[in-house]
């Protein structure tokens, strides 16, 4: 994303146009900042991120209560 695109993206997620799908997604509870960060990555970077997050979530799923 260019600097201008990032600026525009920030404006759009901060104040989504009323009635837009961006506004609907925000109201539903989607974290739009995560989408902007993902759009700023290359496809390869997104896949690396997905793989890394999946590895961590697997560890969390296998976690056990100590007390």
């Amino acid at each position: 994303m260019t600097t201008e695109q990032r600026k525009l993206a920030y404006e759009l997620i901060t104040n989504p146009p009323p009635g837009s799908d961006i506004a609907a997604a925000k109201e539903y509870g989607i974290d739009l900042t995560l989408l902007v960060e993902n759009l700023n990555l290359t496809v390869a970077e997104r896949l690396r991120k997905l793989y890394s997050v999946a590895k961590f979530l697997e560890k969390m799923q296998q976690s056990r209560i100590i007390r």
Binding site: R6, V53, I66
Partner: protein, 164 residues
Amino acid sequence: MTPNSEELLTLLNKAEVEYVVIGGVALVAQGSARATFDLDVCYKRSKENIDKLCRALEPIHPRLRGAPDNLPFRFDTKTVVAGLNFTLATDLGDLDLLGEVAGLGAYDAVYNCSELRAVEKISCRVLSLDGLYRAKIAAGRDKDLEALKEIKGLKDLKERLGQE
């Protein structure tokens, strides 16, 4: 940047930051099959803890997530004291810091609804299924209400299986 939430938690532990893992990651720790990309934690709002938090995160360059690079932002004690919740991007991944959790309250209330869990080589406090249920009801957005069905199903399943 390759996210590494385990390393992020290790940083917080080493700095003795008082926090509880909440949100989607806590839900996964409780058995949910959903995936989430950011790490949400509730932190204690004492001056001492905020100092520790800021020092711990400084090396991984916390910045406002989704904001343009030239937006002025300095993650320090003064900023955290003046605010409450922060959505951050760091060198180790996305991190949401919450001073309070709707439906539960501030850190002490969240702590009382948490359990200490071993996650491979580290340990951290994680919000309980009951705590997650109360938080999702209070948040009340469609996304949260949708998650409630899974939490209730998971709770019922764990009870019937005699699991903690």
